[in-house]
């Protein structure tokens, strides 16, 4: 591929990334400005200690809360760019430290879930397409309907009840060992897989009727080669498209699963921070998760281009 066709979208992505970053910082800055409750009053523990109006004003000046909003924003932005979100109200430790401690758990959960989703998708989607209209196909369809309708947290609780409380095979919460990852991953994967399975099934069926597949078959190419070289590749494109759309739901799902299973990941941290109005953590969560999603979408876009050459060509034409 010629570099020129890559450089143009690259510039666009960088510009988009910077723009999105600013939007996220503005949102998280505004959240604290607009949120109910006064940080100064809670810092002074006004309900337990008697303070004068002067003391409140002094602290306000010291924290720069009386400066114009744009000055406060610039200061906030300066901190963000250095990865400094201040200290967590809950623990007193640095917000960035707390977040980077929690991040690996979420990443592990999301990664393991995605791996399971991919396996389930190819097995069930492939089977349903291969035996179209059969009992297998109907069974897969029923699994998809059920999986999409079952609340993740309820499935999680049922799994805990069965495997941890009754059978004592797997731990009920936490991620002290790798075994702790099994139940949360299964619960989340079942909720996320159905649209992938349906799309792979339909596009496999659609692709197998395409002219180039029939032509290959007429040339005497074996079925397995046709599947590997033509049908599958053609079917991956819609799959990757929906991947970008639903990676967001994966991250949203990790929040619920982390709370259900007591996994100390980013989602659980954010939920606890929200309950205690720990704004530094919430701000960091919005910016870090937002940027993570941006990068993931970029990667999806890239793989999409790699799979479908006509898209990068179109992009080059437009540029």
């Amino acid at each position: 591929m010629r570099p020129a066709t890559w450089l143009v979208p690259l510039g666009k992505w960088v510009a988009q990334g910077i723009g999105f970053f600013f939007v996220l910082t503005i949102i998280s800055f505004l959240i604290v400005q607009l949120a109910p409750g006064d940080a100064v009053l809670s810092m002074l523990r006004i309900d337990t200690v008697a303070v004068t109006q002067d003391e409140i004003e002094a602290l306000r000046n010291e924290l720069g809360l009386n400066d114009p909003a744009w000055q406060q924003y610039v200061r906030f932005l300066g901190g963000v760019l250095q990865g400094d979100f201040g200290a967590s109200l809950m623990t007193g430790k640095s917000v960035m430290g707390e977040l980077s401690k929690a991040f690996p758990y979420t990443l592990m959960l999301a990664g393991a879930t995605m791996a399971v989703v991919i396996v389930i998708t190819f097995v069930l989607g492939g089977l349903a397409a291969r035996f179209r209209g059969s009992l297998v196909d109907k069974g897969v369809a029923a699994f998809c309907t059920a999986g999409a309708a079952v609340p993740t947290f309820w499935l999680g609780l049922l799994l805990i009840d069965l495997f941890a409380v009754r059978l004592h095979i797997l731990p009920s919460s936490g991620m002290a060992t790798a075994a702790g990852l099994v139940l949360p991953t299964v619960a989340l994967a079942i909720a996320i897989a159905p649209p992938y399975i349906k799309i792979l099934r339909n596009s496999l069926i659609e692709a197998s009727g395409r002219e180039f597949v029939r032509a290959a078959r007429a040339r005497g190419v074996t079925e397995s080669v046709i599947f590997g070289k033509h049908t599958l590749r053609d079917s991956l494109i819609p799959l990757v498209t929906i991947l970008g759309v639903s990676l967001g739901s994966l991250l949203g799902g990790t929040v619920i699963v982390e709370v259900t299973f007591g996994i100390p990941g980013v989602g659980k941290l954010a939920v606890e921070a929200l309950a205690r109005r720990d704004y530094g953590v919430i701000q960091a969560f919005i910016i870090v998760v937002g940027m993570a999603i941006f990068v993931i979408n970029l990667l999806v876009d890239l793989s999409y281009r790699a799979l479908d050459p006509s898209i990068s060509l179109k992009g080059a034409e437009r540029a």
């Binding site: 949120a35 309708a149 609340p151 309820w154 009840d161 929906i242 954010a270 929200l274 999603i293």
Partner: protein
């Protein structure tokens, strides 16, 4: 499948939703009545589905909770349509700077996952019925704006619209007479597919303690309340979860049926399925 058979299925689902809407009237007992003498009891003739950790009647709580969970979801979805559809219609039709601003807002919302936005928003606003409504509205209007806008852009270039314009048709007349008929089907299809998702979102928010607060009997909140007692009384976990599951599954089945019934072009169908 014959036509009659489908109608029976749809009728059954609608009946279920109808029963849920009048759920509180069917509740045999006060859903918030605490009676510690009968706490954590299994099913009996007095309490058909048993009692929870405070001795409250589970059947009554599930029936009353329906109105909170399903009612709130339907209300939020209707409001999202009422806001999202006109915005998409106007944005696509007049275009220009207005469209640019609306689309950048839409892009921002789409870039952030539904659950994350709803959780952060309802966490910041605090628990409660109205705050939850706002949080769900905030994540759901976007899909309708985007869908309707792209439908408008698709139609905008057609010859008959040009002719209607040349004939002196006013903007609002063209939108009402020519655009609205094109967007009703896909919008309804997206809405029916959204119902189940919104119910799951409402229950999830309540489960993590950010939705409707106890003692109000919301299904997700009931699951959260009863967590500590699941080993002693599995009904506490099984029944509210099953209620959510049945309602969401029926709603999405209904959505599928409606999708098939509306004459939707393949492009529209692909668009709604990607958005949903």
């Amino acid at each position: 499948m014959t036509k009659l058979k489908i109608d029976w299925g749809v009728a059954a689902v609608l009946l279920l939703l109808g029963v849920l809407m009048i759920g509180p009237l069917l509740a045999p007992q006060d859903p918030e009545l605490v009676d510690l003498a009968v706490r954590l009891q299994g099913p009996s003739s007095a309490h058909l589905l048993g009692t929870d950790n405070l001795g409250r009647d589970i059947l009554s709580r599930v029936l009353t909770g329906a109105q909170v969970t399903v009612g709130l979801s339907l209300l939020a979805l209707s409001l999202a349509i009422l806001i999202g559809v006109p915005l998409g219609l106007v944005s696509g039709w007049i275009g220009g700077r207005f469209d640019w601003v609306i689309m950048r807002i839409v892009d921002t919302f789409i870039a952030l996952p539904d659950y994350i936005v709803a959780i952060v928003l309802s966490g910041l606003l605090g628990p409660g019925f109205v705050n939850m409504l706002i949080a769900i509205l905030a994540v759901k209007w976007v899909g309708y704006t985007r869908l309707v806008r792209s439908l408008v852009l698709q139609e905008k270039t057609r010859d008959y619209l040009m002719i209607s314009k040349l004939a002196g048709g006013s903007n609002s007349r063209i939108l009402r007479q020519h655009m609205v008929p094109h967007i009703v089907g896909p919008t309804l299809a997206l809405a029916t597919m959204d119902i189940g998702k919104v119910i799951l979102l409402v229950a999830s928010l309540s489960f993590i303690g950010m939705g409707v607060q106890p003692p109000s009997p919301e299904w997700g909140a009931m699951l959260n309340d009863g967590r500590a007692y699941f080993a002693q009384a599995p009904e506490l976990m099984v029944i509210p979860g099953l209620a959510i599951f049945i309602v969401v599954a029926s709603a999405s089945w209904l959505g599928d049926q409606l999708m098939k019934r509306f004459t939707i072009s393949p492009e529209d169908e692909r668009m709604t399925s990607v958005l949903a």
